[in-house]
């Protein structure tokens, strides 16, 4: 029986028992069911993230070279190699999620090997692999919560489009979207900013040993950046482009100039 079916049966069971115990019973039953749903979401945060970003497992022969690079980097970092997933969505970069250091998944956008050279891809993957630590589970749950919250803004915007307020890029749907973004962005962004801050750039350079490749990867991704998924920037190498000023709350990385300067200095020291 699949997990979602189990939850549905559980909800039905609780609701039916609630009916026997009156209105209060129903309320208690629904509250318990809601708690169970939240628990289910927290437990399966990584699977839900894969679902939200339409990630599919990489089949053999797909993304040649990347599999080997991931294995090599994981071995060097001393962690098990993550499961590989690919998505057709144009994300600002690849990202890693997981339940623990042993159960991790890396999501690679299809466009990544197209816009980057192999050593730049290796730098991006190194930046993902170094994120496998004891905070990964927390980061995954935060990413899912932030994604779900920010997606509501898009949903309302589409709702406005479908109810005749104009095209997706017309002022009225944009204003509806901006209003909802104003409501959801601060809690989502404060969750992201509450995570412990770590210098993954430096760690990636230490793992890969090629600061120039990471600098090039940052520049290349910045010049091919996308305007979407603002809440995902903290998992990726760069922050996505901003569609409105509210999304600036999700800025997590320092500016490219500052990062490149510090990476260049690190390269000179090594």
């Amino acid at each position: 029986m699949s997990g979602s079916k189990k939850i549905i049966y559980f909800i039905i069971l609780i609701s039916v028992s609630g009916i026997f115990y009156g209105f209060e019973g129903v309320l208690i039953g629904i509250s318990i069911s809601l708690l169970a749903c939240i628990l289910f979401i927290i437990i399966n945060a990584d699977k839900l993230m894969l679902f939200l970003y339409r990630a599919k497992p990489v089949i053999e022969g797909e993304l040649p070279g990347i599999n080997e690079t991931i294995r090599k980097l994981s071995k060097k970092h001393g962690v098990p190699a993550p499961s590989m997933y690919v998505t057709e969505i144009g994300l600002p970069g690849s990202f890693i999620i997981g339940k623990s250091a042993d159960k991790t998944s890396i999501v690679i956008p299809r466009r990544l090997p197209i816009i980057l050279k192999s050593e730049e891809v290796e730098a991006v993957l190194a930046h993902n692999i170094v994120q496998i630590d004891n905070t990964l589970r927390k980061r995954t749950i935060v990413a899912l919560t932030a994604t779900a919250l920010t997606m509501s803004s898009s949903a309302i915007r589409w709702g406005a489009v479908l109810t005749g307020f104009g095209d997706f890029n017309d002022p009225a749907p944009k204003l509806f979207g901006l209003f909802i973004a104003g409501l959801v962005a601060p809690p989502a962004a404060s969750l992201i900013h509450s995570l412990p801050k770590k210098n993954y750039d430096a760690k990636a350079v230490t793992l890969q040993g090629n600061p120039a490749a990471l600098i090039l990867a940052i520049s290349q991704l910045e010049s091919n950046n996308v305007t979407a998924y603002s809440s995902l920037g903290f998992l990726c190498l760069i922050d996505p482009k901003k569609e409105n000023f509210v999304e600036h709350l999700f800025d997590i990385h320092a500016s490219s100039e500052v990062r490149i300067k510090s990476l260049a200095a690190k390269g000179e020291n090594t």
Binding site: F179, L183, P187, S190, H248
Partner: protein, 80 residues
């Protein structure tokens, strides 16, 4: 966006501007709630509206103060 429509220039960091806009959005939610309560009650119940407003504004101010602290520490750290 606001600057474009009102032809104004706010000398503010983007994250502060976003937080101010968000605060205004939450105030709009309070306004909508008051309108709904008034329509349901079919009368302006000042006592109830005051209770709702005070509770809501206290919770809102406290949560925005916490968020402001978090953002300020992070964004200033990033610039240093």
């Amino acid at each position: 966006m606001i600057e474009l429509h009102l032809d104004l220039k706010f000398i503010m960091e983007p994250w502060k501007k976003a937080l101010v806009f968000s605060f205004l959005s939450y105030l709009a939610v309070l306004l909508i709630s008051i309108v709904i309560v008034t329509v349901i009650k079919k009368n302006i119940d000042l006592k109830l509206i005051s209770i709702i407003s005070i509770t809501y504004m206290t919770a809102l101010t406290l949560s925005f103060y916490c968020m402001y602290k978090i953002f300020k520490s992070r964004f200033h750290e990033k610039h240093d």
